[in-house]
Symmetry: D2
């Protein structure tokens, strides 16, 4: 594979940052799913750039068109195809840096892999712009999941070291997830946002950028979803999440915190509640033996700082092999963590639907 993913439902993403169009095909969706296009648009707006001072000033319309697989507002069972015309294409911003590999971007390995034939403008097919169709697919998946009683939501856990509250892992309700899903700067404790915004603004003024962490929860999964050994829920989710540009770490439940815990603290004991087995804590993030336990699936991802910064950086001209000092012009996000929130939700939703169906 590569730009295609999924087992039972397939997601195929196409397009280049500054090409004619981007979009996706979702194959093998169940027929008869009523799509609420406004809900899809809302998620796409949460991801879209140019919406506030924390994001890039570029504006992308992201007006999508559905060209197959939908009839009278319901999925037909045939591939659902979505298409976004690029309105903001090949600018001169990128022309001057085409052969000078931007540090921490895909430029250098892509140049080698494709012998320089790839469309490198704006990162081409590797651009964060390709997360727009992913968010579309995720928004569709969320609606299919909601019909099955499964809900997904994420928030900014940390930006530049400033932290939001964490999920109470064993006790997450739909109302909280719904509130997070409507925000363009999703936080459990909205008061924690001021400090984050300030740190982003400082970075922006310095021509620099900041990273962070996003925490995500999925509630309502049945017990025993996922498959043994190689197709664990953790394997499936992490593979999907590392497809999101800038994600460099994934942890479930207590994650790297397990390293300093003893088994007696870490283990999630069992009790009976309303005639059902429940875990009394949820350090395992709702997954044991690679299968869901019925408790919320909770994980977080590390997001690296936006690689495009305007401070001068040392690089190399890939043709002449001369050292170059690179200054990236144009307007870039000083922080993409807030915009990545719906992308993380999307990959989680798509993957969970693929596991459930």
């Amino acid at each position: 594979m590569s730009s295609v993913t999924g087992n039972k439902i397939k997601l195929c993403v196409f397009g280049e940052s500054h090409g004619q169009a981007i979009g996706c095909v979702i194959d093998s969706l169940p027929a008869g799913l009523k799509l609420d296009l406004d809900k899809i648009r809302l998620d796409m707006q949460r991801r879209a750039p140019g919406r506030n001072k924390q994001s890039t000033a570029r504006k992308e319309a992201d007006e999508f068109e559905i060209v197959s697989g939908l009839l009278n507002g319901e999925t037909t069972g045939a591939p659902l195809t979505m298409y976004i015309k690029n309105t903001n294409t090949r600018s001169t911003d990128y022309e001057n840096i085409k052969l000078i590999a931007r540090p921490s971007h895909s430029d250098y390995p892509a140049f080698i892999k494709y012998s320089g034939k790839n469309d490198s403008a704006g990162g081409g097919h590797f651009s964060g712009r390709l997360t727009a169709p992913i968010v579309f697919a995720g928004a569709v998946a969320k609606q299919a999941l909601a019909e099955r009683g499964v809900f997904v939501g994420a928030h900014i856990a940390e930006i530049a070291g400033a932290a939001d509250e964490r999920f109470d892992k064993n006790n997450i309700d739909r109302a909280l997830l719904a509130r997070l899903g409507q925000s363009e700067f999703s936080l459990i404790d909205e008061n924690s946002g001021a400090k984050m915004r300030e740190l982003i603004e400082q970075a922006r003024l310095a021509g620099d950028s900041v990273g962070g962490e996003i925490e995500c929860a999925v509630i309502g999964m049945p017990v025993g979803a996922g498959a043994n050994i190689f197709d664990t829920v953790e394997s499936r989710l992490s593979a999907a999440l590392f497809a999101v540009p800038a994600v460099k770490g994934v942890q479930f439940g207590a994650g790297f915190g397990f390293s300093a815990m003893r088994g007696s603290e870490a283990n999630d004991c069992y009790g009976v509640e309303n005639g059902r087995v429940v875990t009394l804590s949820n350090n395992n993030g709702g997954i044991l033996g690679g299968m869901t336990t019925g408790a919320p699936v909770v994980f977080s991802v590390a997001i690296k700082p936006t690689p495009s910064i305007s401070v001068p950086q040392q690089s190399v001209n890939l043709k002449t092999m001369q050292n170059e000092t690179l200054v990236i012009k144009g307007r870039h996000d000083p922080c993409i963590v807030q915009r990545a929130v719906p992308v993380i939700e999307a990959m989680a939703a798509f993957t969970m639907l693929d596991i459930l169906i």
Copy 2:
């Protein structure tokens, strides 16, 4: 999938902890690979239990037999099949706890998923014992990688909070990886082991267990390996690593540390060295845009404390739905981090070979 993994090379693992045999089939290996069986045995011994005070007192022979795919010491191109007879089968240790779900084990979701028909003794197919065939497959993959100039090695980064040195991410040599690969308690700084052993012993005496972190490096990968968007090297490796029981987090390069970094610190600038482009730092762990950069691929995984502990735990009888206090008898590892080191190497080696071929 589930107990089968891999794209071009397939690994199929079979067996149950207390069943008749465990083993694996490796399909589509290149023909003509000379196998050094002693090197395979060495890796299997590093994983095997009962080797020192830090591990369980159970002894497993792990004598493997190769029953197909090898002729005159070389692979034939047909499936390579390995088989280990279980000598230490179905004991009464597990009989008393069969219906009482062990906290943080697969017991409860497996019971639901398989309607109680799964072989639950010792965790059955979910047992850590199934990592023996994984280590075999990894040891085979390491030999195929070595022919291609690629080397893999891992060490205990942390146990119970006590830390080893970390890899110098941009500067890792074969000699270090070779040394780590021969140790049963792999450390970069061997002096850091005493504290770790002491903490394990304290946990053991308390009937408790400890967790940790393993760091792994792969050197010699060409530039541009891996595929765009959904089949990134990070996606492939993380999916493989989360198949290892007890792994709850995976991070590449600076990983979760990116959250508090600025782009200007985090970015890996480029220079020219001996006519080749090199990164001047390696916070991205040798992967950009999901492709290898030529720098060492460096990642670490979080290992949760062994769930089997002898301190009393609250649980539920899955048949009667009564609360029960569970005391797990038998001998268990107070720490599996050291034994997991060759398993992490194995999944990394298998995955890298599958990407390379």
Copy 3:
């Protein structure tokens, strides 16, 4: 899978017969392939309806647009996406028969499978119209194969019992394949066409249709392509060919003729020619043990008569469960064999490229 196929290269086909657009995404094509769009158009015209009396009078423009994956006339390595706007959409021709299953079409099982939510107009996603993107993908694959010295061509072996010459299986040259590839009624012996056309015309006048057989050859494959047991060249090709609507049989080399042969006649003996091993005959159609032998890969497919006929047929209203006499109006192909020739070539070319790469 379903509307996605391929191992290393993926083909994803989307659209519905009377929807807004049809098209395809080809993922993981090699970068740097120069595309000759005129050659692609030629294949698409060979498939297009309305080109002669033997085909339906409907005209489809089939003007395609490439919206991603192509830069300066060369593939970029990112998904190549092709898009055809439907100009001839939802007509009333189909309205009256929507719930009355057309015999030998997909209507009835599709209605059950998708609970009536599928787009049934003109067969929807099951329509022969979806072979247009397949022909596009095949035309791209042919260009990639030609760079590797591999050539594909097919001809009408039989229509309504009237036969063309068959390939001389062990002796097929590029010139013949090139000639076949430029014809809209591809025949080895062009004199055999008059009888075929006459039989088609008779069927047309009777409001009926006819079936036939297409024979296809691939030359230039290296020895030993294909994989053992389950991934044989025959398995791969047949799976691809049965994806073409109306294909109901696939045979390689002597195929069903083997039933009346003895081994001594059937076996392809070996000789040496110009220092290379060659088969002295080619009853096995260039494939042994599922692998290519270096001889031409030769196979044929059975094409059933066009199911849409205007003679009255007995059917059932799927809602009322009443018997109905169905008379299919509109203009339909009395024979699709000639139009299916480039589709068979396309599936063969795509599959062979996927095997080779």
Copy 4:
């Protein structure tokens, strides 16, 4: 893939003809399936050689051992692994012909593909002997299908031109399939067997061999199984069937007979019977648009004559590149059609189960 197949259930076959063992792993079978081992043994005996004058005089015990995935007679949900020790290994029969490619066998392309490193004795991994684990897997699948009301059976349609009756395609009952499934020379009209046996015996006396055709039916499939475009039931079945050595053609329903039919004869009209839609004929072999129609799935496969014959054949020594006259010694089947019947049933059963689950 290659020696692994299946989407939701995976079958992995291992072993070489004259190696230490052959066997298979079946992954992701449902848990709780009670296995009747005697029924499995019966199918394996139908395939086993040395059972009558029509088959080779070699005897293979084919005593299988199940080493994982079965507990108290029921599947556990973990991989089901089966293992047959080879008792009749590397004989001198093959030593003299090792480098002289046997015509119409896999020897030559395998030698090239694996650079001579493959185990060529008796065909190695390409041997018909590997159909023993396939029959095992099919026998397991049949039991899972029977629980779901689906039944599979096949018969010898033709040997050396002598024909059995064909299935009445729209009217096949369990009793007939059950009778076929217990025979070692399965025929609808048992009187047709005498002529076949006579023709086989004539070939045997001449040191020659004969081919044939096998017809197979699957009854009880629900309407709408199978997936659109590339994952049709025909694609899935044909891919599986061409994995069986000696199969060179697959046709569904009227198959190649469609070539001389008109649509008005070929189309399967609909009626209502007991409140259900039924087809009034079944020329499409129970499949439309790649999906099952509820009518019996009926197909036939062409089997080439056994390539191993004792009449002298022209070949080449692959090392010296000299022409050689090859006389194959040892005892070989003058006809494998009768032994292939349970293998065809097995691939059909496994595939249908994989589609259904």
